[in-house]
Amino acid sequence: MPLITLKDVSKLYGFGDATTVALDEVELEIEQGEFVAVMGPSGSGKSTLMNIIGLLDRPTHGNYTLGNRSVARLRTNQRARLRRDKIGFVFQSYNLLPRLNVLENVALPLAYKGVSVTRRLKRAGLALEQIGLGDREYFMPRQLSGGQIQRVAIARALINNPTLIIADEPTGTLDSAASLLVMELLGEVHKSGNTILMVTHNPELTRYANRVVYMHDGSIVHDERTPIGQVPRLARRSMQLFPRKTEEDDLAGVSALMKAIPHKESLPKKSRKIKTPKRRSEATRRKAKK
């Protein structure tokens, strides 16, 4: 049984004529222990997908099963508790609370679980040692390098032994050396059995993943499995076209990639329904009521 099942998940923003479709009936299954990289140009719905899977956001319609529980319609507090116990987040930047030291930052999710101060700091200390930052316990976040901050953030994401780790461009602001360290760490986390979902613009980094999902205009347009250590076919093609140097090149690479892949409509996708205006306005009304 898959860990994550998304069925017909859509997310709409705005009302009436100004409605934009961030996710368009996405179907996705992720097995326990997979390392999934999500690629796609800006505005393709990657972040929205992450937010919905990470229980930060609700789908406008469709169904989402996490573990064996339907979670699409959970209430705010139940979702907060699930985030605390099942999901770890690593964001692109400003990941840590600037006023707390490294140790307190790592221990933060435990605080919301009601673990006592001494116990949670002890566990946070152990977690920091595991990622090789045991000597930085009492540093403030501003005293760390970007790569160190991301590794601390990964330690924080792991502290509750979550079933799923969501990383939204974890290397987006890092240089290649720091990126490598962070990705190696994520790779190890994956090897120890965690499920990881990562958004990236950098085709090179997909070699740590065993599955790459390509998004465009709110839909998943391609889904490819590769052995770990190999850059998948589509990503490789964009790398050859544009040898990677900087972040901007990454973006250009992704655009090239999107041009290279077969167009959405021509993809063999079973029973893709054309949305009728009636159904969309119905969904909009439901959203407005909330």
């Binding site: 930060l56 956001d57 507090n77 907060a80 985030r83 605390r84 964001f91 707390l100 999710p109 919301y112």
Partner: protein, 403 residues
């Protein structure tokens, strides 16, 4: 955890607390000052004995048919010397049955001077030889003028006058002049603990001269602010009061422009006046507590906006809305309660300083301190809940995107 944010901006936290601190200090200090004055006055009045009858100008109280006070005319009672009794009231009262002693207290305008010094900020009071007896006040040095000296230019002075006019403790036998007439100092009064006339002049600053001499030197232009009466039989004072009332009414042409009060009634009137005054000023001071609360709310609202990103991260790692609400509410409460504690300590300090450097005797009333702390707590909750709710309601995605 909630304290981390406050610790990291100490200066801002302190300024926020300042409103609460000032509020608590002023409320506690004013109430304890009021209590102190009340205690002094009450102590003095009860020391004078319950059989003392006072007659004062103006209609201070309204009585029903049976003679119990139904209403206190505060606006009149507040004036220290609201008018004067006619001079012949004295002889009318003296002729009333069951009256043992009658003591006039009259204010004489003008100041006293010696050859090289002037004394203008005291009071000159015309009275008679019975005053120390009726007020149960001792003479510290020398003696009060006797009944045989009532026609002579003699004076007995309060402690403060001795120090300020003569610069010595026992200026007996020295002379000074009032309205160009020379007076000889016969004695110095023991320290008056407080004014025997409710809310009246400070008798430590008073120069006492014989009543008739006072009329003489001013050409009869004195202000009879109070007449003190002791009955022969204390258990018949009710009848005596009724009799005095009746006779004065007749003499005043049925005008109710005077008040005869028993000592316990005097106490009630004084208490009422003091309570009103203290209550009024305390109300104003309490307003500053409210303002302090608004200051806390203001800073908390700013803080919530500034820390939007933090709220987003906290929510992402699993904080429920209630936990976020709790965190910001605790921050507001810490601000107000710490402010309350600092305020209370400062109020205690103010009290000690007031006792040392002024002649006020403030009395800290613990119920008031407790009440102030409770109010501070409530203010913290009321003004902390809005920003905290705002923080809790934030959408995690928008909060995370906030720069």
């Amino acid at each position: 955890m909630a304290l981390a944010a406050l610790r990291s901006s100490k200066w801002r936290s302190f300024l926020t607390m300042l409103g609460i601190i000032i509020g608590v200090v002023s409320v506690v200090t004013i109430v304890s000052l009021g209590e102190g004055v009340k205690k002094q006055v009450v102590g003095q009045i009860s020391r004078l004995g319950s059989d003392l009858i006072t007659i004062r100008p103006g209609q201070l109280v309204t009585r029903d048919a049976s003679g119990t006070i139904t209403k206190i005319n505060l606006s009149r009672s507040l004036g220290i010397s609201s008018g004067s009794l006619p001079a012949n009231d004295l002889s009318i009262i003296e002729r009333t049955p069951n009256v043992k002693t009658v003591v006039p207290i009259s204010l004489i305008s003008g100041g006293a001077r010696t050859e090289d010094r002037q004394y203008n900020n005291g009071y000159i009071i015309g009275t008679n030889d019975k005053m120390p007896e009726v007020l149960k006040q001792k003479v510290n040095f020398g003696a009060f003028f006797s009944s045989g000296e009532l026609g002579r230019h003699v004076a007995v002075i309060g402690q403060t006058v001795a120090e300020q006019l003569f610069h010595e403790n026992v200026p007996i036998g020295m002379t000074f002049s009032i309205h160009g007439q020379d007076f000889i100092v016969r004695g110095v009064m023991d320290k008056f603990e407080s004014s025997p006339v409710a809310l009246g002049p400070d008798f430590n600053k008073a120069i006492f001269i014989p009543y008739n001499i006072g009329k003489e030197i001013t050409g009869g232009n004195t202000q009879l602010i109070e007449i003190l009466v002791r009955p022969t039989h204390p258990n018949q004072s009710a009848q005596t009061i009724a009799a005095i009332n009746r006779r004065l009414m007749a003499a005043h042409g049925q005008q109710n422009d005077f008040t005869v009060l028993r000592q316990d009634e005097n106490l009630a009137v004084t208490n009422d006046i003091l309570n009103l005054l203290t209550g009024f000023i305390t109300g104003i001071a309490a307003l500053s507590l409210m303002v302090g609360g608004i200051g806390i709310m203001n800073i908390m609202l700013v803080s919530v906006t500034e820390r939007t990103r933090e709220i987003g991260i906290r929510k992402a790692v699993g904080a429920t809305n209630r936990q976020i609400l709790g965190q910001f509410l605790v921050e507001a409460l810490v601000l107000s309660v710490v402010g309350g504690i600092i305020g209370t300590l400062l109020a205690l300090l103010t009290n000690v300083l007031l006792r040392i450097f002024t002649n006020l005797q403030p009395v800290i009333t613990w119920p008031v301190v407790l009440l102030a702390c409770m109010v501070v707590l409530i203010v913290g909750i009321i003004f902390g809940i809005t920003p905290a709710a705002k923080a809790a309601r934030k959408d995690p995605i928008e909060a995370l995107r906030y720069e």
